[in-house]
């Protein structure tokens, strides 16, 4: 019971804070919308997509990049909510959190679930605006994508937590953009199918196939069309466990970020 009280409070706090930060919400929506409404519009002429699963017919480029943009929203959210813990004013609240007598793995999991809840709100808001612009998914897809988004959100949030606990150099968001967000995003199936990437370079194709972000995108893509992608699910789940394990290790009081942060 105390565990659930703790989880509920951490989610409630994160939601209240998010509601208060209107700028963050707007930024979270504008970013994918720029890609969808400007980039995709310009790019559709340059990129001819053949029929590829899970799509039953030929699709427009806008439809293709929606799952990648959903995952991008979650990637940004994961990075923002975790890294702000360590490098921003939030260091104080992290102290408060970690001095709670709850087990540390549970506190980090609560934080992760809370961040993921916010990312779900952001993704659904994005999907609603996309729908308003006529970029529609099958109606069941909006429901079926929920568990997929939950899993991908947890995985990407766990990646943020793991990074915040271990990597010392990522002191600002620009560093994270250059070394994490951009490579993950561009080396994935968010913007182009794996086959096209593999055609231009076998190495890049392989990197794409290994990238956990690719699996998150494919998980969402298939779920939006009511299909279950076991491979993507298994990879996303596995990387979630790995990243979360890494974060718990990194936040161990005997090592990792706190020691460096609290040092002279």
């Amino acid at each position: 019971m105390p565990y659930l009280i703790c989880l509920q409070a951490i989610i409630a706090r994160e939601c209240l804070r998010f509601m208060g930060q209107r700028g963050r919400f707007v930024a979270a929506l504008v970013r994918p919308l720029v890609w969808l409404l400007i980039f995709a519009a310009g790019f559709r002429a340059a990129l001819g997509l053949s029929i590829l699963p899970p799509y039953p017919t030929q699709i427009t480029y806008e439809i293709y990049i929606v799952p990648g943009l959903c995952a991008m929203v979650q990637l940004f959210n994961g990075m923002q909510s975790s890294l702000s813990l360590v490098y921003d004013r939030e260091m104080g609240s992290m102290r408060l959190l970690l001095t709670s007598p709850m087990p540390r793995w549970w506190l980090l999991t609560c934080k992760l679930i809370a961040g993921t809840s916010i990312s779900l709100l952001q993704v659904y808001a994005f999907l609603a605006i996309a729908a308003a612009f006529g970029i529609l998914m099958p109606w069941q897809g909006y429901l079926l994508v929920f568990p997929a988004l939950l899993l991908s959100g947890l995985m990407l949030g766990a990646l943020g937590l793991a990074l915040s606990s271990t990597i010392k150099q990522l002191e600002n968001f620009a560093g994270v953009m250059n070394f994490v967000i951009f490579p993950m995003y561009f080396l994935s199936t968010a913007l182009y199918p794996l086959s096209m990437m593999a055609e231009s370079s076998a190495l890049l194709g392989n990197l794409c196939a290994l990238n956990p972000f690719t699996h998150a995108v494919e998980l969402i893509r298939f779920a939006l069309y009511g299909e279950f992608n076991p491979e993507a699910t298994a990879w996303t789940l596995l990387t979630l466990i790995l990243f979360l394990g890494f974060a718990v290790w990194g936040y161990d009081p005997a090592r990792g970020v706190l020691r460096r942060k609290l040092g002279p």
Partner: protein, 250 residues
């Protein structure tokens, strides 16, 4: 099953801590009994904050032992932490949430909710004289009230030991005095053990237990007026820290 080690409310035994090559704490030992107020006095960089980080288990000691209310912090960290109320040097309140919400959040981190949490929150706010500000956003409160709120927060789970790391930094003289008095009263009324870190000699009262820390070493431990030994405490503190410095340079 978690077993108690000893009866001291707070026990620090031969604690040594290094940040890389830098020795932050060197064989520091002292213990406090229940209901004792102890000022931990030391200039900046003395190792006070490191000791607080160890006592709140944000980091763990490499050598030596720490126990809180009889629970070993290394062997029974959760039992020990549930008996600690901490007020950190840096602000740890959520400015955009109300005072009440900040406290509710903290109560939940300790597994408290519902009427029990509400009652404890009301009591703590009342105790610190800020009950009328409960619904205000923390951002609208002044520095003194924010500190009082943090002290109120640290009482909600009814800790045995309260740790305050330079809690009066940035406050005006009247707010400082009010907070010192509040904490002394808590010590007396609730039999709460208090470790109060400061670099300001005037925050130490003649009858307080006093531990002086300098460059990671314990220089003095006793009752403040006995340590002062007929001088003012400021003179004594400066001479102690200066002679240690001379020894180090010699």
């Amino acid at each position: 099953m978690v077993t108690k080690l000893n009866d001291a409310a707070l026990s620090i035994e031969k604690v040594t801590f290094r940040f890389g090559a830098k020795l932050a704490l060197d064989q520091v030992s002292f213990s406090l009994r229940a209901g004792q107020f102890c000022a931990l006095l030391g200039p900046n960089g003395a190792g006070k904050s490191t000791l607080f980080n160890l006592l709140t288990r944000l980091i763990v000691s490499q050598e030596g032992g720490l126990s809180i209310a009889g629970y070993d912090l290394a062997k029974a960290p959760r039992a020990a932490l549930s008996r600690v109320g901490a007020v950190f040097q840096e602000q740890t309140l959520d400015l955009d949430l109300s005072a009440q919400r900040n406290l509710t959040y903290f109560a939940a981190l300790h597994g408290l909710s519902g009427p029990k949490a509400r009652r404890r929150i009301d009591e703590a706010l009342e105790r610190l004289g800020i009950a009328d500000r409960a619904s205000e956003k923390v951002r609208t409160l002044n520095g003194g009230h924010r500190r009082r709120l943090e002290i109120a927060r640290s009482l909600i789970h009814e800790p045995a030991v309260m740790l305050l790391d330079e809690p009066t930094v940035g406050l005006d003289a009247a707010s400082r005095r009010a907070i010192i008095e509040h904490v002394h009263a808590l010590c007396a009324d609730k039999s709460l053990t208090v470790l109060w870190a400061t670099h300001l000699v005037d925050e130490v009262e003649a009858q307080d237990r006093l531990v002086i820390l300098h460059r990671g070493k314990l220089l003095a431990d006793g009752i403040a007026e006995e340590i002062a030994a007929g001088h003012t405490l400021t003179e004594r503190f400066l001479s102690l820290t200066a002679s240690e410095l001379e020894e180090a340079l010699a």
